[in-house]
Symmetry: C2
Subunit: 193 residues, 2 copies
DNA sequence: CCTACCGATCGGTAGG
DNA sequence: CCTACCGATCGGTAGG
């Protein structure tokens, strides 16, 4: 039987990515040291380099983890047969979860520390990022076609995503609006009656 | 005659602030060293500390310079007798200048590296920042009262400022829309007909 | 504002 | 994944 044969998953690597996401979000990529990361997972300072070639590779892994975790839900929403308005609300709500929920530090790190990536890594992560952005563009275009948005095109998407992503800088869990209420505000703000 | 008596301005200090703003914006606060800054103004590495006690004090000076430079124009717009719609457009346009125009790196640094400030410095800069935010809140409230906005309150301001500030991450001078066109898009996106 | 320097810390590596 | 370490660099300072 293959019962006890472990899959080739690298749990320690996953742990490093998860812990690094938290630290990068709190203190920034440049403000976090390899020793911070190693301490947080109970390793010695040289050991993270057994799993990653460089510190920047950890950063890229954090961002890719966030994107690959967020893409399926977003794809399902866009592929659904919801009307454009409810589809937009669902996408916004799912995105707020990804960006604001406890322990979801991956995409905030992407937003904060994008410029810390080397050009090569940036290019690699950009592939996934493009897929995510395209999903938003599809929904924005559907809203425009339905006459629910005053403005269209790439700039409309950037303005909407800016408003939504900026929540990272002001949302405080347990204070003010919750994620559902913020989603309602976004819909009220952007969609025509 | 008092003709050649210089005013107590510190030109070297101003130069340090301006150059630091550019470097902080390009590479981040943690990614910029005192030696980078000293080199850029033609000083030796210890000399910036003649003008500033710590590296963080330079960061605070950069942010305060941006706010004190931007406040008068914004105050004049808010105090003007423009109707709410045109007033909003004027404020957005002025803000885009502050955030996107060549050499205007102060407020982008504030947006990027806010978390790099010590709590004490953050509190000091926050005083100016509150004044700037309040100007936006005033205009947002006027829009709401005039029935030009679907949503009101502090969250509305944060969504609008998010959309506008996010331009820092995607605007490329000479490519795509210019600042006037972006202001038009923002107005079209948010204001009711 | 320069000279000369310090103690601390950094990302990363060789060898096991 | 640890031990032991390296060369480089960092923010900051004393004395002039």
């Amino acid at each position: 039987m293959t019962k006890n044969v472990p899959l080739p998953v690298d749990n320690r690597r996953d742990e490093l990515v998860r812990v690094s996401a938290r630290l990068f979000r709190e203190k920034g990529f440049d403000g976090t040291t390899i020793r911070d990361i190693a301490d947080a997972v109970g390793m010695r300072s040289g050991s993270p380099f057994y799993h990653f070639k460089t510190k920047q590779d950890i950063l890229a892994a954090v961002m890719e983890e966030g994107l690959t975790a967020g893409l399926p839900a977003a794809e399902a929403i866009v592929a659904s047969d919801l009307a454009p308005g409810p589809k937009f609300r669902a996408l916004v709500r799912a995105h707020l979860e990804i960006v604001l929920a406890e322990g979801h530090d991956f995409i905030p790190v992407l937003l904060y520390d994008w410029r810390c990536l080397t050009p090569e890594l940036r290019e690699r992560v950009q592939v996934l990022r493009d897929r995510y952005d395209q999903l938003w563009q599809d929904v924005i275009d559907q809203l425009g076609a339905a006459g629910l948005l005053r403005s269209q095109g790439a700039v409309s998407r950037l303005l909407v995503m800016g408003a939504v992503n900026y929540t990272v800088l002001w949302y405080k869990p347990g204070q003010g609006l919750n994620l559902d209420q913020i989603a309602d505000e976004v819909v009220a703000m952007f969609l025509l009656p």
